[in-house]
Amino acid sequence: MKKKTALFGFIALLAFAVFVSCSTDDYGNGAYSYDEPSIYSPSDDILFSEVLLFISPYLESEGQKQYIVMDSLCNLSLAVNKMTWDLTDSYFLDTLHLHNKKTIGAYRTTSDEIVYPVVVNVRKHPDNLTTAGQYADLLLNYVSLWPGSYVCQIKSFDIKTASGELEKVYTPNLAMPIEVKENVTSTNLGTFEVRID
């Protein structure tokens, strides 16, 4: 009887520990850093500052992948440990010189693979700082993306239709780990093909 009670107590304690470790408090003050020119640091530490990734949105037509043609992919929303970074556009692409272009539905497409490179800056510009409390908060949270493991989610981005209108694409299944290493300024998350329905 005593053994059962002890076992139950141990399991309850374990469950509580797991619950506490999974609570949102663990995410701390935010997995990003600030870019504030008035703050000076004599430290020569190289801080992590950007994430590279490549997005390749495509349609399926007659059993073949047709990649979306646009000058840039817009408003990529990326969250690290639930903290959303600034929206970012991809590099511009020279779509004029792409081959095999055709219009499918509302989109310009090509059968040649297209990847849109995106560099997401982890350094946020703080809002206007006017009070001592705001400056103090900023100094306390100036760098919060220290070396370690983080969960990265690509939440959404906008593609352009043939007429140039933006269309939001949600990507709830795009989650991956980020390893922030010491003295490394950026990391490549890889290439992600996203099917547009």
């Binding site: 008035s38 640091s41 001592a132 409390g133 103090a136």
Partner: protein, 138 residues
């Protein structure tokens, strides 16, 4: 005769020193103290006008009263009107700040300035940003 002369000279010197000391005691004084009422943040090199009020203030700490003696026509002439300037520091990171408000310290004043989270501050680069913002709006 010679002894009398020496006595007179000593008396005159003593009188001069006495008068001078009386004059210096007559000068008005004012005092200023600054308190760091910011949690978890250290303030350094706190100054008021050209006066270095304190080297460092930990959270909740108040500086000793800094005395300014009034020398009319001299460098230290009261009243003095100025902002409070300091470095806000956390670890290696530091930022230079000034209060937006100007404080006036007059004769016989005991000025007590609290730097709280609500105290409005400015940094020299703010001017550059404002100029940039204006030119963007144009």
């Amino acid at each position: 005769m010679k002894a009398n002369k020496i006595k007179n000279a000593i008396a005159a010197t003593a009188l001069f020193i006495f008068v001078m000391s009386l004059m210096s005691c007559d000068n008005d004084k004012a005092h200023i103290r600054v308190m760091n009422a910011l949690p978890n943040i250290q303030l350094k090199y706190i100054s008021f006008d050209d006066y270095s009020v304190a080297y460092s203030l930990l959270p909740g700490e108040t500086s000793d009263a800094y005395e300014i003696v009034d020398y009319p026509g001299g460098e230290n002439e009261l009243p003095v009107t100025s902002v409070v300037k300091f470095y806000m520091t956390k670890g290696d990171n530091q930022v230079y700040l000034e209060t937006k408000e100007k404080f006036t310290l007059d004769k016989d004043d005991n000025l007590f300035i609290r730097i709280t989270p609500e105290t409005e501050l400015t940094n020299g680069l703010d001017w550059g940003r404002q100029t940039l913002k204006l030119s963007e709006e144009e």
